[in-house]
Symmetry: C2
Subunit: 277 residues, 2 copies
């Protein structure tokens, strides 16, 4: 059996009891390490589980999925995923391959940023479509997420913006020289996210489209390390999110839609704005 086990968002102890029991009896334990990160290193998980954990990056999963699945025919194999195992589209492929090769699989759910983002005080029922904000390059600046945010705002709905993660990306310079060199991991900060959002707002602003819905003065919510002991939540105007300090990754951003009085009250409690005032 292939178990896809959610680890939740914080540290080693955010795994469920059910998940932990499977990890402790599984023949092999893999940790997916390219769509999210925990606040603790692999070694802390190994110590807590009492098991060796093999880091499964994108290349590993693509190249070794046949081996992982072959092993899961007669044994329990645990594939650990930060958050919920269905939070990232990238695991769909492993599940499809398991099905094609007749390997049974089971999901052990856990919290993901998709529900834990409610920790900022907004009601989960009032969110619209989730968007992902990718790192821009000099020549590649996709902005379709912006229209989705505006569509949500038009309907009065909040938008959770997931920020890009680049793990084990090949260096283009090295690639040109025929070498395989990996860039250090990069996690988009709320500062970069606001920079990109402001650039889109600037580029779209015309006399006929002043964008009253979403502009530099729109109040946004910056989230960092949700579910961790040191989670940080701050509200500010979009332009001020350029310079706020949120600390270590992972960061996310929420663009609130129409706010209910209770949500405003909850936001004022949950957001710690001491450094931004």
């Amino acid at each position: 059996m292939l178990y896809l086990i959610g680890l939740g968002l914080g540290d080693a102890k955010d795994i469920t009891v059910k998940g932990l029991e499977i990890v402790r009896r599984a023949k092999h334990v893999f940790l997916e390490a390219y769509t999210s990160i925990l606040s603790v290193p692999k070694e802390t998980l190994e110590e807590f589980y009492g098991r060796k954990v093999v880091i499964a990056d994108r290349d590993f999963v693509e190249q070794s999925s046949d081996d992982i699945l072959a092993d899961a025919v007669d044994n329990d194999v645990a594939f650990l995923v930060v958050g919920d195992p269905l939070g990232a589209t990238t695991h769909t492929d492993l599940i499809l391959r398991a099905h094609q090769t007749g390997v049974q699989h089971r999901l052990i759910h856990n919290a993901s940023i998709i529900n834990a983002c409610g920790a900022c005080g907004l009601q989960l029922y009032n969110f619209g479509e989730i968007v992902s904000i990718p790192f821009w390059t000099d020549s590649w600046k996709p902005n379709s997420f912006f229209d989705k945010i505006c569509a949500n705002l038009k309907s009065g709905l909040h938008t959770l913006c997931l920020l890009d993660i680049k793990v084990k990306e090949q260096s283009i310079d090295a690639m040109i020289k025929g070498k395989v060199v990996y860039e250090p991991p990069r996690y988009m900060s709320v500062n970069i996210a606001s920079k990109q959002l402001l650039e889109i707002i600037e580029s779209k602003a015309t006399d006929s489209y002043p964008n009253e819905l979403f502009n530099e003065k729109t109040v946004v919510i910056a989230l960092a390390r949700i579910g961790c002991d040191d989670q940080t939540i701050k509200t500010c105007q979009l332009k001020d999110m350029l310079a706020i300090e949120m600390g270590a990754p992972l960061h996310s951003v929420i663009i609130p839609g129409k706010l209910h009085p209770i949500e405003i009250e909850m936001m004022s409690i949950f957001a710690d704005n001491s450094q931004t005032k």
Copy 2:
């Protein structure tokens, strides 16, 4: 400290290790029992935790929240919530009161139907606003959720429909006679949900509004007991959801929007349609 601890969706072992440690050391353990249910009774939780668990229904929380909070000033108090503690709006009040009275609180997140519904094969990124479908009475038939589903469909987005739960509702007959008698708990089935949806479609259908977006032939997904060992997922046309057998609660319904080929493939794997074909 007041801990609001998510229990996840299945049985006693879906609590996180972190949550379990708090439950085992807390002075008092309350179980919220009016917005969702686990597949196991209170006694199973008590045995697993090694602790007495007090059922906290709506009346109890409203009447005893001052006592709960007073206790949490100097002690750890665990307030258990099925799913994620932020999945239901009803706990907002307890958090606000905790804040007003200076009682520290902390959330221990877990899976909720909001992310675990991805188990049907649809991508969580492609969902729009969540809707709740309430039980209708002869004289009260709200249908605002229908317009929200249509708005999602228009944008190509999936809709998660949460189905009503009535726990410890007073009997109106008894109330008229001046007595307090509680109705047995009711959990909306996918059959009732489809009946109400079909009635709205029927009532809205006109020559000028044939509702091509959402009609009796629209393919829908019925979910039951997601996250439990016996979870059941079936796809069928809305009119056929009237008669499918999904077993014990809790049920939910998903109205898929525009489907990606991968989602169609995943749906065909995850949905067990053996009884509906």
